[in-house]
Symmetry: C2
């Protein structure tokens, strides 16, 4: 698969794909005769998972660590799971925080509704 197709299917921009490869987040991609990147199906699964990790706000450093562990094979399975579990805990904490913040926001919005009504009544 050529990079343009891979970009569309993975949801990562062409520039991002090359950038990720440069920093080692994606492994060095196989090349065709002319030196062009040629992606396979397993590359796609990995790129998509990287995209999910990013959507989960996992910073690049952590994704790099995960990627390095992955490249070291089955010996790092437990370490990788631990990393994911730590990030899961962070996500849960963030969700709790957001719940509280939404509640505060709702209070503020209700407060605005009151003030608008009052000023509307008095004019």
């Amino acid at each position: 698969m050529k990079i343009s197709d891979f970009s569309r299917r993975s949801g990562l921009s062409i520039d991002t794909l090359r950038y990720y490869e440069r920093i080692g987040l994606l492994p060095r991609t196989a090349r065709d005769g002319g030196g062009r990147r040629s992606y396979g199906a397993d590359d796609l699964a990995w790129a998509c998972f990287l995209g999910k990790l990013q959507a989960m706000d996992m910073p690049i450093r952590e994704r790099l660590t995960y990627s390095r562990l992955r490249s070291e094979g089955d010996a790092t399975l437990a370490a990788r799971r631990a990393l994911l579990e730590a990030h899961r805990a962070a996500l849960i904490a963030r969700q709790e925080e957001l719940r509280g913040l939404v509640a505060a926001l709702d209070a503020k919005i209700a407060h605005y509704r009151d003030r608008e009504t009052q000023s509307g009544d008095s004019q």
Copy 2:
């Protein structure tokens, strides 16, 4: 209140307070005889709310818009409420997204648990 106290109470660093004032996110603060910032209680409430907006991932641009509206008085109450409601909707959407991502992460973690067990059993 001096800036160091205000920083501690608002949770914003001294540098951030000065930065916010520079870009217009905080209004020009009152000064004492020597030209030093002298904050009041209402400044504190506003700074704390700005902190919450930031914790809600509201970008600086949007916070600036909100701040500008606020400085224009009661005529902008409805606009400010609309802005907060739009951000509330974004937060809810993000929460939903995170729920899905956590589910995907759980699946991945379960997958790792399986693989670890298998390799443990076979050795």
